[in-house]
Structure formats: structure tokens, C-alpha cells
Symmetry: C2
Subunit: 254 residues, 2 copies
DNA sequence: CGTATAATTGAGGCGAGTCAAATGCCGTGG
DNA sequence: CCACGGCATTTGACTCGCCTCAATTATACG
């Protein structure tokens, strides 16, 4: 049953061997995700206060930031790079529940402990906050709390779309809708729609879509052969015919 | 590709032909879900105020309460019965994203419009609130808002577990974990763990687990043959060997 | 009692998974 | 600069299990 290869020996960023950088910045006001992240709920002077309790974290590819079951001592906003969120079965099977992109928040679903593992897909930078500090900020600034709630609702809707994709779409439909979603998300970040950059591996995509690596690879090849996409390199996908690709995706709205 | 039969002609409870009952109660303080629902965040006198803007709704089996895309004018707490939440593809394929049980809240994932359809699985009763009223109550009672956020986070964790089940479990594992979850949920409601009552159809279960009716039915039969469960009737499942059933389920924690 | 719907069971095909191998890519070190 | 090794990706051959189609049995309801 689709036992996926686990990522080789990820280390936690919060353990002793990994440095935690504290930025002396003032960078928040000019942050690239200032308008997308939680902090969009706050005015510049309010963000300055938030910044005082903020720590910066950097991750190398495949490095784990938090692990399922760890006590939730911090929450994060991703500022650059990409993270994968995943759940594991005792026998090693893995389900990736989502990919975090700049502006996304880590900790939405968690209460006392992290409910899933978060690892870097590519070199990544995050803003970290002690949960106690964040709680204080939320008490002080109600809009911050509201925005977090809004983001949680959005994440829930995404998870439900994911349920549909996992439960009811055929492999080509899964891959096609994945490409369209990634394309749309890239656009939201001011990047081009068409040559979509996919920093994650085929295995990651497979573990996200409930498929095997081989099936994902074969499906890419099939879409290429059909002329719907081009593959300049394995991590770049050019969408040739968006309309047709959407048709293949089964018109899954997002 | 697994095209599921749609439920026959569901009508919306909010449309003209369906009566909306306004209870003259005072029943909240003695409500069966008083300690599980949103209202658990409020004291009895505060709930009394909530009650003043509350309307009661009853649903017959297969009747729709809200439909995907409808403007979200009301939110609900289910007090008795069971609802199914679902998403549909243009071609009729359906994914059930979850089942609502007494105490559960309808509207967690929605913003301006309902993101999914909610239909009654069995005769059901709900407390309804105009979104404007609920917003006012949340502004007044912060704990209400917090509890709603808590319930949203919980729903998100459930959806993620669902992603794992849909994407990575084999049919028998899916059915086994479904039975265990339903059993655990029944226990939370003070009902016996073992003869689990499943009011939904096999088709509903199939559309929830990403399978076909036939596969669900065959899997039930297999589990019965293996002596893990008994089936006094199609809607009652007696768990004979919980330990073994959990082993079949792949030890999916919930 | 008769009908409609749900659930089960059966037979068979196809497609995704499994196993295995080849190719491509990239960083390391000679 | 090139040789090597590890890893990701792709491709191939084959099997098995889930879906499809179809029929039968059971259940609920008038």
C-alpha cells in the first residue's frame, strides 16, 4: 500500500545544533509578505511592537522546523521559501496535507502540540513568535485574532478541496488541478502564471495527491505528450493550454 | 471514475415551502448539547440572551439545509440527528467531507457563502442564528469567538486526518478507521461504544471514504467474515475485536 | 402485499501500484 | 576538467485489486 520513502534524517531547527538568528531589522514595514500574512491586520506602528518579540529562522532543504507531537511553543509566518506539512503512519506512509508559501502561517490547526510535521522544501526564512507572546498580541489587537481565524477558515476550505481531490479525482485530474492551483498561487505572489516553478520532488507531489511517484511521473509525461504542458526541466512546468488543463482537472473550483 | 448517485431531489429548508419553527423554549439551559456546543463558552444568563435571537429548524432525511454557494445568512448548532457535509463536481461526483453530530457547528469554514452543502442524514433539529446576530454576540462575548476558533482548529485537524485516510489508506483500513472514529464519537455523546449506529447509507460512507458502494459493502462483509465486527442490521455495527480492528485501521490516531 | 430503494453478491476488465532498470542531474573530489 | 557517486526522475513489464456492469436479495414504506 503505497509506502513512501521517508525524507532522509531531518533535524529539527529548534534543537541545539541549529542556530536561531535574531534579526536586528526594522524590516517588517518593508517585508515582502507584509500585506498577505497575519501582520496585514496591524498598522505599521503596531507591527513594530510585534517585531520586538519576533525571532528569525532559516531552514535548509529537508530540514524540519517542527514535528508532529512536539509541544507548540512557537508559531511562524513563512517569509520566503516553501514548507511541506505532513502526517505519518507508523509504517512510514506519508500524507502531505499542504504546502506553505510566503505569507502563510504555521500553527493554525494546532492547540497544545503540533498536529503535523513541517519541513523545508527549499531554503526558507520564517518569523517566529513564542506562543505566549502571540497570545498577548492577540488579546491586545483583536484584529490580529480575527485575521488568524480568517486564515484558519481559509485553510479549512483548502483542506476540504483537498479531500475532494484525494477522494474523487483520477490521477490526471489530480495532477492537472495541482498544477492549476500552484499556478494560481504563484500569480498571487506576483510571479508569472505559466512557467510554474515546483520546488518539491515528485515524491512530495505523490504524497500530496495520494499517488505513487511513478504515477505522478507518468502523468506529467502524458500531459506533456498531449501538448497541455511543457517540461523545460522537472521543476518547471509551462502551461500551454490552461483551458484544456482545467477540463482535465474536472473543473475543480478553488 | 466513481460517479456517485446524487441524492434524490433535496429541497432547501430555508426556501418557502419549508417551515421554520421558532421555539418558545427556555430550553437552552437544559439542552443536551449545552456542554459540547459553542454555547458551552457562555454562562446560563448569557445563553439566555443568545436564545432570544435563536430560531429552531427541523429537517427530514435528505433535506438540504444549505447549499454550496448560497449566501451565508445563518449559522447553526446541531442539537439532534446527523448532517452530512459535501462538495460536488460538475459531473455529479460527490465528496462527503464530514458528518455533523449533535453539538457540532455549521458554518466554521464559510465566509460570505457556504462552501459546502449540508443535508440531513436522519431527522434533525438545529438552532439557527442570523450571522449578524452571531457576530454581535461574538463581539460582546469574546469567549464565544474563542470557542468558535477552537472548534475551527479542531475541524481543520479532522480534515487533515481525513486527507491521510483518503490519500494513503487501503479500503479495509479506511472502513476500519471510520468505524473506530464513529464509535469514539458515539462514546463522546454518552452512547455505547460497541453497537455503533450508522444512520448514513453505504453510498454516503463510500463518498466519505473515496470508495464505491460495492467496495464498502464488500469490506463490511470481509470484516464480518474475519470476526472483527457483527452486522445485526446494515445500520448497526457491533465491534467484536477493537484491538484487531485498530490494527486493520493502520493505527490511525484520531 | 407490492413497489422503490438500499445492500449485497458475482463476473470481468482495466488501471494504478509494485518491482526493476535505465537515464538524467548535481555536487564532490580527484 | 573530468570521474564518480548519490539521488531524482523516467520508463518498462507485470500483477492485483478496485471499479464497472449486472443481477439478486433485503429492507422500508405506502
Amino acid at each position: 500500500m503505497t509506502a513512501s520513502t521517508a525524507v532522509s534524517g531531518p533535524k529539527t531547527a529548534l534543537s541545539a545544533d541549529r542556530p536561531t538568528y535574531r534579526q536586528a531589522c526594522g524590516a517588517c514595514s518593508g517585508c515582502t509578505v507584509r500585506r498577505m500574512a497575519v501582520c496585514a491586520a496591524l498598522a505599521d506602528d503596531e507591527v513594530a511592537e510585534m517585531e520586538r518579540v519576533m525571532s528569525s529562522f532559516t531552514l535548509e532543504p529537508n530540514q524540519a522546523l517542527v514535528e508532529e507531537g512536539d509541544p507548540k511553543r512557537r508559531v511562524f509566518t513563512l517569509t520566503s521559501g516553501m514548507l511541506r506539512l505532513s502526517l505519518m503512519l507508523p509504517d512510514g506512509r506519508r500524507q502531505i496535507t499542504g504546502f506553505l508559501m510566503p505569507g502563510d502561517y504555521l500553527g493554525l490547526s494546532d492547540d497544545e502540540v503540533y498536529s503535523q510535521t513541517a519541513e523545508a522544501v527549499m531554503p526558507s526564512v520564517l518569523c517566529g513568535f513564542a506562543t505566549a507572546d502571540m497570545d498577548k498580541l492577540m488579546e491586545r489587537y483583536g484584529r490580529l485574532k480575527d485575521r488568524l481565524h480568517l486564515m484558519t477558515r481559509r485553510a479549512l476550505r483548502q483542506a476540504r478541496e483537498s479531500q475532494m481531490i484525494l477522494g474523487r479525482l483520477a490521477p490526471s485530474e489530480k495532477v492537472a488541478s495541482f498544477l492549476l492551483v500552484m499556478s494560481a498561487r504563484a500569480a498571487e505572489h506576483g510571479q508569472p502564471e505559466s512557467p510554474v516553478h515546483l520546488p518539491m520532488t515528485r515524491t512530495d507531489i505523490a504524497d500530496f495527491l495520494g499517488l505513487t511517484v511513478e504515477t505522478v511521473s507518468r502523468t506529467f509525461t502524458k500531459l506533456k505528450t498531449q501538448g497541455l504542458i511543457r517540461l523545460p526541466d522537472p521543476h518547471s512546468v509551462e502551461i500551454v493550454d490552461k483551458r484544456l488543463l482545467a477540463a482535465v482537472a474536472g473543473n475543480v473550483a478553488y
